[in-house]
Subunit: 353 residues, 2 copies
């Protein structure tokens, strides 16, 4: 039996508190399935930046290359600007490893109060597939006439046929394995160059996936429908920016950002994929041991699935659902008083059975 | 007593059903305040496009120039692409008349079920100030290598110092007249040229409005907070795209897109401003007399305010609130069975008192 080699980057703040929870859960579920995990920890973080002047070493990306997967807790610290903390670590990894799919499942669990009156557990269960390496998050652009009245900034969104096609194909295939329904997020009525191109490619790819029903919604109306009628969605595919917005909104609809997981996938497995909770480093609650570990644990379940262990993955999400449905154990963000360790312990106990 | 000269463009679908409701309401409230309105109706619409090949005549914008305000019902019809229906009418008017503020109030009225469990009427009452002539909705961009594997589309978002400053100043001043709290929508952690510039200008303009407390939120987190804690907001300012998303999401939080009004303002009054409900032409329910006229009527209230009649404006929104709080009269989108005419009649009766 060989161990999966995991590069672990706990990062900053509560990232360091939820990462140990992940180790514990993987050990428990691994034990039942004959799986082993060998972690190599990297101290890449804002703390490292403040100490050494960089979030990660210059050859950071190369050091991750040989691993089976990367687990990231969270990065960010007060006083460290985003162009350092994100563009010095998270975003370069996503891009270097062609993690062009950012997968973000949304589910309303029994036992969690969604802020939506009509949310019924089990009915709201969809996945956002976000394009993760191009689109609106582009380095192309700049500033002219700095400081003068005629100053301006421009930024170019870039959508390539190859980049859009591959994420659409992933989303269509995923919809085919789930409920058979794909919704494309667009705004081609207002953004008249890139998004009509996106729409065209959706129509084109749909022909290769005849078993999937698809529709499209403008992002403004789609956000409204996520609140008015979330049960109608199965898989939603969107650009880098739209996918980001929809998945945070979806996490809110599901009750807490603390729950939401994400997988940055290189579906071809030519490079390692990266798994990280959607929440940030939450400096306001860091160090108190009260962070919700669900986002991290669910991300680890996505990692298990990606590593070829769908049953172990389903046991982890099943145990999460069971704790919420059968006990009062939940963290403060969900109105409870459990610590990170208590919630994790309760979950691990269920995995043992 | 001189009459206000209003250019009225009922447009398509339910636009033609809600516009007469506006006339009725303005006549009722005008009668009490000695106000008269002289309407000139324009048949500009998708119907006109299908008949004559253009949404409006070539000199359309010029024909509107002399009016005190423009009222627009809704445009759009099945089979007429957006680049015709929107870019042939709505968007050129916004731009030609420098309507750089798109004002979109959001309120949870007593008697309306917000989809949010925690929404309490009166507590959720905020305004989205949307930049309305530049930003992400730019004509700059295009397509290369059409039909080939290396095909791509680019689109440039353009933020000018002048364009951002004037909408921020409007938003800060509005916040000063309301609750004294402004939230700026950004995404400068991912979109690294235009939005850091936006953030800088917010900080710069804040110095001229020391009485206003301000903060900023990334658009993903902001959408989540609109669902998790909408009562915290007073005025939210955002770019063309972000303002569009936030105002539709806000309308959903308030219970129905059918309620939401908008004012496309040229604050300097050098050109006419334009007032339109946020909802579209709704071809699915058009012709049945069941459209919710509230979005249109509330837009007319914003028009009254802009024309210098704040008391008449407040009477209209007050009557709207009273119908909802005191009666069961509401249209189908709000779970009722009233027709457009019945709701309007009930509202007009209250205006008479
Ligand atoms: C129809 C569309 C172009 C328009 C916009 O996004 O501006 C609409 O959504 C609106 O909000 O007025
Ligand atoms: C931190 C930020 C750049 C990032 C993003 O927008 O990609 C985050 O919001 C996320 O969703 O992973």
């Amino acid at each position: 039996m060989s161990a999966h080699r995991i590069a672990s980057i706990p990062g900053d703040g509560i990232g360091r508190e939820v990462t140990p929870a992940v180790y514990e859960v993987l050990e428990a579920v691994g034990g039942r399935h004959g799986l082993e995990f060998a972690y190599t920890e990297f101290d890449w973080s804002c703390e490292r930046y403040l100490r050494e002047g960089a979030m990660m070493p210059e050859d950071g990306v190369d050091r991750l290359r040989g691993f089976d997967a990367v687990f990231l807790g969270a990065v960010g610290a007060p006083g460290v600007p985003d162009h350092i903390s994100l563009w010095g670590l998270l975003i370069p990894i996503r891009r270097a490893f062609r993690q062009y799919v950012n997968l973000r499942p949304i589910r309303v669990f029994e036992g969690i109060d969604s802020p939506l009156r009509a949310a019924r557990a089990g009915e709201i269960d969809f996945v956002v597939v976000r394009e993760n390496v191009e689109g609106e998050y582009s380095e192309i652009g700049g500033r002219l006439n700095r400081g003068f009245p005629e100053e301006m900034a421009v930024q170019e969104a870039v959508f390539t046929r190859a980049g859009v096609t591959r994420v659409l194909d992933y989303a269509f295939a995923l919809a085919g394995r789930r409920g058979g329904h794909l919704t494309s997020a667009t705004k081609s009525n207002g953004i008249v160059h890139t998004l009509p191109f996106w729409d065209e490619l959706v129509r084109e790819r749909a022909e290769s996936h005849p078993g999937v029903r698809w529709d499209q919604e403008h992002i403004d109306a789609l956000c409204a429908k996520l609140v008015l009628d979330p049960a109608r969605f199965d898989v939603i595919v969107g650009s880098n920016l739209f996918g980001d917005i929809l998945s945070d909104l979806g996490a809110a609809v599901a009750g807490s950002i603390g729950i939401a997981p994400s997988a940055n996938l290189n579906p071809e497995r030519e490079h390692p994929s990266m798994f990280e909770p959607v929440h940030g480093s939450a400096p306001d609650i860091a160090g108190r041991g009260i962070a919700n570990p669900m986002g991290a644990i669910w991300s680890a379940a996505l990692m298990l699935d990606h590593l070829g262990h769908p049953e172990a993955s389903a046991e982890v999400t099943g145990a999460m659902a069971a704790v919420l449905a059968e006990t009062d154990t939940r963290t403060a963000d969900l109105g409870g008083s459990a610590t990170t360790a208590e919630f994790t312990g309760e979950l691990v106990r269920r995995l043992g059975r």
